[in-house]
């Protein structure tokens, strides 16, 4: 198994509101798309038809939200089977999931719940990544979480993630907004965090916006994917790309979906940073 590659340009989280815009966007610009496969795991319907059309011209990334890799139960075999069907049908260039859990005792919590960074949790996570990769016959990327509480752990989060990657052979989907949100919420240093991530593990980057908690304000940022990428996150991204080089980068917006032109402008900003990293350094 090898890490499948997306183009080192920007992609966009594909929303039904933008199907037509994406279909009509020039296909030579490298624009790729990412979807949550759970939204397409249906018998039929127009969403799947749209995805088939869009997929013809563009690289596709399937970014799962329901595998519960950091859970304490065996992975759901029926859900793995649906993943396999999606892979057969849509031939994604990339597959990813979250370092989070969402299923327990038959309930799907529809949220990305946190895991403490303990040795036991690392063993569970690694085991589940291995099972998912084996079941799908593909290498996956795992995404760093955004945290609202500081959980007692036995190692730092970068160490936890890097070790999971090394043990399972998976790669990392580095969400820079999540790094910023967590750093703000639980008082850690975003630069130190990013500097601890080896660039060769990073297969994809996510950029999104966040919102202050309605009660606690800036002290607690909520990763709601409902606003443009903030200047602080752009700065972290630029510094990161300067260090590790260009990586496929996704602009994500899951709530308050704007006109496609607004997301295009953010993609242009990211593409500018990616291109700059390709230029030879000035003497």
């Amino acid at each position: 198994m090898t890490i499948d590659r997306l183009p080192s340009f920007t992609g966009v989280g594909l929303k039904p509101e933008h199907y037509r815009d994406v279909m009509n966007a020039p296909s030579d610009g490298g624009l790729w798309v990412e979807v949550h496969p759970e939204n397409y795991m249906t018998d039929g319907g127009p969403r799947r038809a749209w995805l088939e059309v869009i997929r013809k011209d563009r690289a596709l990334s399937l970014h799962g939200v329901g595998m519960s890799l950091a859970g304490d139960e065996p992975l759901d075999k029926a859900h793995l089977a649906r993943w396999r069907e999606m892979i057969t049908q849509f031939q994604p260039a990339m597959i990813s999931e979250h370092v989070a859990w969402s299923v327990r005792d038959g309930i799907y919590f529809a949220d990305l719940l946190p895991t403490p960074a303990t040795h036991e949790a690392l063993a569970r996570l690694t085991n589940n990544i291995d099972r998912m990769q084996t079941a799908l016959g593909r290498t996956i990327l795992i995404e760093n979480p955004s945290l609202y509480v500081d959980l007692k752990g036995e190692m730092g989060e970068p160490e936890f993630l890097v070790e999971a990657c090394k043990r399972s052979g998976c790669g990392l989907l580095l969400d820079v907004n999540n790094v910023f949100v967590s750093a703000n919420n639980i008082d850690r240093d975003a630069h130190d965090y990013l500097d601890a991530i080896p660039g060769d593990l990073v297969g994809e980057i996510h950029l999104a916006g966040h919102a202050p908690d309605p009660i606690m304000g800036q002290a607690l940022l909520i990763d709601d994917h409902g606003a443009p990428v903030t200047p602080e996150v752009w700065a972290l991204y630029e510094r990161l790309i300067g260090r590790i080089g260009p990586k496929p980068t996704l602009i994500e917006r899951d709530t308050n979906i704007p006109d496609f032109s607004e997301l295009s402008a953010e993609m242009q900003t990211a593409n500018g940073i990616l291109h700059k990293a390709l230029e030879p350094a000035h003497a």
Partner: protein
């Protein structure tokens, strides 16, 4: 295989409202107040899905009431599957028993129509049976055909004029000029070759389609017609249903 984890148990208890167990896992004890974010996220994600999956119910009862009933429902029937497109199977039955909704007795049937729309929307894509399949067959041969309903077709009976109420409100027009009638009605929702379609049926038409769905051949399915006139009307409906794509295939035995 590792044992179940005490952390996950305590976190799940916290989501159900018991904060105490999880506190030993918090590096900063003041963070206990932040756990509401996870509780809110879970309830909101479930409730938002219900609101989204039952838009006509929301149109009829208003956003505030809908949110209230959705939150009550998700506590009663939490999501069990990461595929949320079809979450809310039990919502119409829940409305049947939900006291604050009793003044709106047609509401559960409107919810059933919303549910049927969702099921039809995500049903397996399949070409509709072509009219030419019947060409060159004798009347007896046609009568002996076993038809397969289109996989998207959903049939709904109601004690009320639920389809009429649903139709007007699904489009967001409000119920202006519409009177609630306690009189039975029947309807169908399906993917026609022109897109998602719905229409009111007579009881005879409804029974005809239901019997086809149960495996009756065309002759048996039409036996519900009480008179020759009825039979002629039902045959005309069969032709209409065929043209509109309510069938997927014909099996001759």
């Amino acid at each position: 295989m590792l044992d179940r984890s005490p952390f996950h148990k305590r976190f799940t208890d916290m989501l159900a409202g018991e904060d105490e167990g999880i506190t030993t896992w918090l590096e900063d004890p003041t963070h206990i107040a932040r756990l509401r974010v996870y509780r809110n996220n879970v309830t909101t994600a479930w409730a938002d899905t219900i609101v989204k999956n039952f838009p006509t119910v929301e149109q009829l009862v208003g956003t505030e009431f809908m949110r209230g009933v959705a939150v009550a429902f998700v506590k009663y029937e939490p999501a069990t599957d990461p595929v949320l497109s079809t979450y809310g199977d039990g919502f119409p039955e829940f409305l049947d028993t939900f006291k604050p909704a009793r003044p709106l007795p047609y509401l559960p049937d409107v919810a059933r129509l919303d549910r049927a729309w969702t099921e039809a929307f995500f049903a397996a894509s399949a070409p509709a049976m072509k009219v030419k399949v019947l060409a060159g067959r004798s009347e007896d041969e046609v009568s002996a055909l076993e038809l397969v309903l289109h996989p998207s077709l959903r049939l709904l009976p109601s004690r009320w004029n639920a389809w009429e109420i649903w139709k007007l409100n699904r489009a967001g027009h409000g119920e202006t000029g519409l009177t609630l009638k306690e009189e039975p009605s029947w309807s169908a929702i399906w993917w026609s070759p022109e897109g998602l379609a719905d229409q009111q049926l007579s009881e005879v038409e409804f029974t005809f389609l239901r019997r086809i769905g149960e495996g009756d051949n065309l002759r048996a399915a039409m036996s519900g017609a009480a008179s020759e006139e009825d039979a002629a009307r039902l045959y005309a409906f069969f032709s209409e249903a065929l043209t509109k794509g309510m069938f997927q295939a014909a099996l001759s035995n």
